[in-house]
Symmetry: C2
Subunit: 149 residues, 2 copies
């Protein structure tokens, strides 16, 4: 955790957001990540997502079972979901989402939006052309050599 | 939407998951994305996240206000959160999350986990070293030339 915190502190000096993350397997660091949203023009480049992407490249896998993620701040819903998709086995965090809210990095609005029915969300959302789109799902089901996850 | 669907169908043939997305501004395509999770060993490479990253690179911005995302399937919580972080103005989808669940691409477990208190989640989660971590947030607040978002 100290390394994740050190990264978060260094990243502020390096023009990034105050967030760092470290992914560890069996006591060894697999990969690290810092927030490069504004530096890289990538709204998905949160510390946790960056660390997950780097760790998966390092391990040559899209799964990180058995790994722990140490993140300097409680994950936002995007990062938390990425952690679930990656199948990480343990999450440790230091700053809380309220601490992040206090410095205007709040993600409360996203947690609230996710829980709302689609019709009540602030981003207008419409559904159509389901019948046409189902073709891809039918093709997927019919494919014999697919890689499932 | 037809283009997003076409991408999702082509992507199955190309060894990816059955998902495609297109980001449009003022009737013009800014960028597209497909699911390359298994192909690229990147659990965050969903169609929507891939399209957002590409569109931000194209526009040289970490925000996509004024853009619409057309996605062949209802966004998972990771992608939905990324859409909020990117500030997209409209979401259109075709297949539903239940359709995805039916072909074993379900994200219901993630929606459920997000709503649970930390102590009840399936991935064990601990919080510690908050005091040390707050240093990065104090540095951020003290920084005069920071780029906020």
């Amino acid at each position: 955790m100290q390394q994740a915190i050190d990264l978060s502190i260094q990243n502020v000096a390096n023009g990034g957001g105050p967030f760092g993350a470290v992914i560890v397997r069996d006591g060894k660091v697999v990969a690290t990540g810092v927030n490069r949203v504004t530096a890289n023009n990538d709204p998905t480049a949160h510390a946790e997502v960056s660390a997950i992407r780097a760790a998966c490249q390092k391990e040559g896998s899209f799964k990180l079972e058995g790994c722990t993620i140490y993140t300097s701040c409680e994950p936002c819903p995007m990062c938390l979901s990425a952690i679930y998709w990656a199948g990480l086995s343990r999450i440790c965090f230091a700053n809380t989402k309220q601490d992040a809210e206090n410095i205007k990095f709040g993600d409360k609005f996203i947690y609230e939006e996710i829980e709302r029915p689609i019709s009540k969300r602030t981003i207008p959302t419409e559904a159509f052309m389901r019948e046409e789109a189902l073709q891809a799902f039918r093709d997927w089901e019919a494919k014999s050599d697919k890689v499932e996850y």
